[in-house]
């Protein structure tokens, strides 16, 4: 039996979600249409609203409904430090940690040579413009400590070196409260390689 075209369109539209194949997409479509029409209506409106109203903050590149996001618009924050993160979720976690009162830049991705994601596929050009706008004195690179995050950090440091801004990278090592006996060996070894001096 052939489905009506609008049902087929809905099923194939749901397949764009990561991890959703034809079977799951069909199940979702039937659920939305049969069991939860109000939910389907809400989903359609929310998606439509997000698509038309959400843009990227013109300074930090995170998702925002206004030209400046609420972090960038907050004049009480330090204007001379810029923390570079990969994704908005990283920004949210850093905000929760309450350790930083400067501004952010969200790359919306990372350089990943093995997946063919190069420097031109993330917002590096926008970052360079922002970092060199005259107000920023320190750029803190807070990309992930994965191989891709480290590659991204290297690309950023190459682009910003000798440009008159101080470049720093967040530290890695044992987790707070970590016990040497139980920590994973990769982390422990790297903590020894990157040990810091205590003598003055």
């Amino acid at each position: 039996m052939k489905n009506p075209p609008s049902l087929d369109q809905l099923i194939s539209a749901l397949k764009v979600l990561p991890g959703v194949g034809p079977k799951s997409a069909q199940r979702m479509a039937y659920h939305l249409l049969q069991r939860d029409k109000a939910g389907a209506d809400k989903l359609a409106r929310a998606l439509d609203r997000a698509l038309t109203q959400l843009t990227h903050c013109e300074r930090c590149n995170t998702f925002s409904e206004t030209t400046l996001c609420n972090v960038c618009a907050d004049e009480k924050r330090r204007q001379d430090t810029l923390m570079v993160v990969e994704m908005p979720a990283d920004l949210a976690n850093l905000e929760q940690s309450q350790c930083y009162d400067g501004l952010y830049f969200v790359l919306m991705g990372r350089v990943s040579p093995m997946e063919g994601i190069g420097p031109n596929d993330i917002a590096l050009a926008k970052l360079i413009t922002r970092a060199l706008d005259g107000t920023v004195e320190e750029v803190i690179i807070a990309t992930n400590f994965t191989a891709e995050g480290e590659a991204t950090a290297h690309v950023i440091s190459e682009l910003l070196k000798d440009k008159g801004v101080k470049l720093t990278r967040i530290a890695r090592g044992l987790p707070v409260g970590g016990e040497l006996e139980y920590v994973d060996l990769g982390t422990l070894a790297q903590a020894v390689y990157e040990r810091r001096s205590l003598s003055r």
């Binding site: 991890g19 093995m114 997946e115 031109n120 480290e150 290297h154 690309v155 440091s157 990769g186």
Partner: protein, 243 residues
């Protein structure tokens, strides 16, 4: 009861990984006796997973897995250590090694010699050895594992290489004495002294390293069928941007 296709304590490296379902990882690994294969690392992305700090590229591991299909399941990954995490330019060079391995080797095609060359290259990168020597040695070992072992000590007519002469090295075949002959297309002109240095695995002269780079690029491009290398382009972009 033993599981089907169970392999224990196999030395290997993670070449690349990607998220799989909610909490798992799909990893591409290069192993000593089983070649390159894909493994599912179940629950490796959970916050408490101890595999997170272990399943990193460029870290020597001992892997155990089971399964008979093309997609096998990781059972254990033991960290072996000895290589500090790569960073900066050495990290990008490491990605270059990985991209070559992924693009030029077949899955489930064991090549212990290639594994040893890879292992040696990663350890050399970690130890901060001269970058281009490490890369050229690995490229030559990779070409040898593909069945293309370059000859550096004899020319196409079977004569010993003369250090004083110039030679044309084609993309396939032996070096050809120049001696006023016209050069065939797709070849690199290399002094005989450089060929002899390469035959002796001696990369100490900058000229040797430069010629070796042109030669391996010519040969690798032929093996890659001119497929683009993302890592090579990345390095070129960085060099172009910082100028």
């Amino acid at each position: 009861m033993s599981q089907p296709g169970k392999i224990d304590r196999q030395p290997g490296y993670v070449l690349m990984s990607q998220p799989w379902r909610e909490t798992s990882l799909l990893i591409e690994v290069l192993t000593r006796d089983h070649g390159r294969l894909t493994l599912i690392a179940r629950s490796a992305r959970r916050p408490q997973s101890t595999l997170r700090g272990v399943l990193m590229p460029f870290a020597p591991l001992e892997l155990a897995w089971f399964g008979k299909t093309e997609l096998r399941t990781l059972h254990a990954a033991d960290w072996q250590g000895g290589v500090p995490q790569l960073s900066g330019l050495t990290l990008l060079s490491g990605f270059y090694l990985n991209e070559l391995v992924v693009k030029l080797t077949a899955r489930d095609d064991p090549h212990p010699a290639l594994y040893f060359a890879y292992d040696r290259a990663v350890r050399a990168l970690g130890a901060g050895e001269e970058l281009s020597t490490v890369l050229r040695r690995f490229e030559l070992a990779l070409l040898a594992s593909l069945g293309y072992t370059p000859t550096f000590d004899r020319d196409v007519d079977g004569r010993a290489i003369d250090a004083e002469q110039g030679y044309a090295c084609p993309s396939d075949g032996l070096p050809e004495l120049l001696n006023g002959r016209t050069v065939v297309a797709e070849s690199e002109i290399v002094p005989g002294a450089v060929l002899l240095a390469l035959a002796a695995d001696d990369f100490s002269e900058p000229l040797t390293r430069r010629c070796a780079r042109r030669l391996t690029r010519l040969w690798l491009n032929k093996q890659l069928f001119d497929c683009r290398l993302a890592t090579r382009e990345l390095l070129q972009t960085i060099n172009g941007l910082s100028d």
